[in-house]
Amino acid sequence: MTFTYDGTFEGLLSVIFETYRLETTATAIVPAEEWQGSLFETPLLVATKEEWAERVKVGIKKKGGKKSLRLLEHCFLSEFPEVGKLIHDFVRKLMASPINISDNFGDDTVLKLHQIKKKIGREVHRMHAFVRFQRTQDDIYYAIIEPDFNVLPLLPDHFEKRYPAQHWLIYDGRRRYGIYYDQQQTEFVSFADDHALQYRQLPANMMAEQEVEYQVLWKSYFDSVNIKERKNPKLHLQHVPRRYWKYLSEKREQF
């Protein structure tokens, strides 16, 4: 049977709860808005219930520990079409087993989830590395990113610890929301008109006075530390795949 839900993690857990209640298992679980109509079946839409989701969370933690829950939360952010079903299968297997199965890498579901988590972790690490802030005139440090996965919710902790005394905004240009920190706390923000936020380089009238100078200095530093005799374009691309270049002021030709 195919289930649909509102696209949130709690929604997905509600579906899993519902499958137990109906004593059935799911063949596919997809966010309602991604459901591609089919002639042969009508999916069952499950409304999100906090209480149900909470009970599934408690169950996962009891059987698999906090780590298992975190594994599922992280994997969910991948937005892969099959991830709902994978999480469902994992919970079923976890509940049916007398011992914690979360390190059974011989099992396909477990292994796939760990592989997805690794991809998410790598993307988070890349965001820690490749975010480039531009200072605005009103002293906000602003960066635009377009990560492969929806990793913005995993970023605040790192940047809060690092920059507690400056205002910063990291904006996901593809998913069109951001995280904004005001020296107190981080909030999710979205804007009706995000036109100005979509530029790689902020418009001149928004930029702080010395911003371009520092970008130029950074690029000249980057160019000077290169050792020509050791040139290795393959290795370079492996570390900095081309799709990330757009964030990086040091890879830009002109300012």
Partner: protein, 417 residues
């Protein structure tokens, strides 16, 4: 900031780039509420140069003026290069502003020797002090400990820096004397030994009194230049091993000599020895994370690392009697010895086999490099010993591309055994 700062940055970054240390990990410096930055846990490479090296720190010399004339160094006195010197304020401004924009993890500051060792060291320390105290900077700071500087200055440096390093550069004193007449090992080992004592002392004291300030929490490291002088890998790895054991270094870096000078005292290399450098790093990893001893990697009979295959593979090919290893039975340390199985894979194997016998497909999906590993392991459904542990045949399979493979298969049809 102006054109002059840009020019200085270009000169002094260019002169610092041959120091290969880039690590920004291994420290334990937390941020304060109103501070800037932290240096906890793992390092971050914010960019990579076109030669594929990590850019993690703002790595510059304070000045490239130098009273020494070391043949391997681009800043040596007799070399005709542009000279420049930063002011304290310029280095501080660059560090803070690069850090705020998330370009870097911190500062790596080295220097040519101007006037004398203490004068130079004092200025390096001052920059770190201004960053820590006036700007509440808690990002990573790596300072050079200048050979010959006084213990007091080295001590003060340790209070502000996360890591300190003194470079041995040339792997034997005899060779060092030839290429760097003003230098000797005693001057280099002196700050290294002082730091070792101070790091241990502070750590002990911190256990008893928690408010003890941290002292170089990321330890110390050094660098060896490879290929400029005739030392073999046995000599180099023994030296590295003793530096890890006796000076408690966190890292030894190996830098393939790049022919930056036409100095008569050095060999004319056409290309830097990059493969050898890579093999040395692999061997270094085997020493630190895989429980290997130096004499298992190189010995009097094989004093140099095999350039064709990695050192673990070379070890396996020299000791075929120890294989194949059963991944379902062998202890973790033994599984680590299978070529193509890294630390992560070995841990996965040990965790997963508690749930059931591991088969070939499991290993494949876990990401084990079976191209190399398969000759040396047994799993529930496959045993490759029918391939025979003929070291020379395995070496051929691994080092030569597909086309050569068919030839070797045909040969084995008519083989002499």
């Amino acid at each position: 900031m102006n054109e002059r700062v840009k020019e200085k940055l270009e000169i002094l970054a260019d002169a610092a780039k041959y120091d290969v240390s880039c690590s920004s990990s291994g420290s334990k410096r937390k941020n304060t509420k109103d501070g800037l930055g932290n240096a906890t846990g793992m390092g971050i490479c914010h960019s990579y140069t076109e030669d594929g090296r990590c850019v993690s720190l703002l790595k510059v010399l304070l000045t490239n003026h130098c009273i020494f004339d070391c043949a391997y160094c681009v800043s040596r006195k007799s070399n005709d290069v542009k000279r420049a010197a930063f002011t304290v304020q310029e280095v501080v401004d660059l560090t803070i502003n690069f850090y705020r924009r998330n370009y870097i993890e911190g500062l790596f500051l080295s220097s040519g020797i101007f006037k004398n060792s203490d004068y130079t060291m004092e200025r390096l320390v001052r920059i770190a002090k201004v960053l820590r105290t006036e700007h509440k900077f808690n990002g990573y700071i790596h300072l050079k400990a200048i050979p010959g500087a006084s213990d007091e200055l080295i001590h003060e440096a340790g209070l502000y820096a996360d890591r300190l390093s003194v470079n041995l550069e040339i792997p034997s004193e005899m060779s060092l004397k030839k290429v760097a007449p003003e230098k000797n090992y005693a001057d280099v080992y002196q700050p290294m030994n002082y730091l070792k004592g101070a790091i241990v002392g502070h750590r002990e004291e911190k256990k008893r009194i928690r408010s003890t300030p941290s002292f170089a929490p990321a330890g110390q490291s050094t660098q060896l230049v490879i290929g400029a002088t005739p030392e073999n890998d046995l000599h180099i790895l023994n030296l590295a091993d003793s530096l890890y054991a006796e000076q408690s270094l966190r890292r030894v870096y190996y830098s393939g000599y790049i022919p930056i000078s036409e100095d008569q005292r050095l060999p004319a290399l056409r290309q830097p020895p990059l493969i050898r450098e890579n093999r040395l790093y692999q061997a270094d990893w085997l020493l630190r994370f895989y429980g290997f001893k130096v004499d298992e990697i190189v010995d009097q009979q094989y004093p140099d690392l095999d350039l064709e295959v990695d050192p673990k593979m070379a070890y396996a090919l020299r000791h075929p009697q120890l294989f194949p290893i059963d991944v379902n039975q062998a202890p973790y340390e033994v599984i680590l010895r299978i070529p193509g199985v890294g630390v992560k894979s070995a841990r996965k194997i040990v965790a997963a086999r508690r749930h059931g016998q591991l088969r070939y497909e499991h290993l494949k999906k876990m990401g084990i490099v079976l191209k190399r590993a398969r000759y040396f392991l047994k799993c529930a459904d496959k045993n490759f010993s029918h391939l025979g542990l003929y070291p020379e045949a395995i070496r051929k399979e691994i080092t030569q591309p597909k086309r050569a493979k068919t030839i070797s298969n045909q040969l084995s049809l008519f083989g002499t055994n």
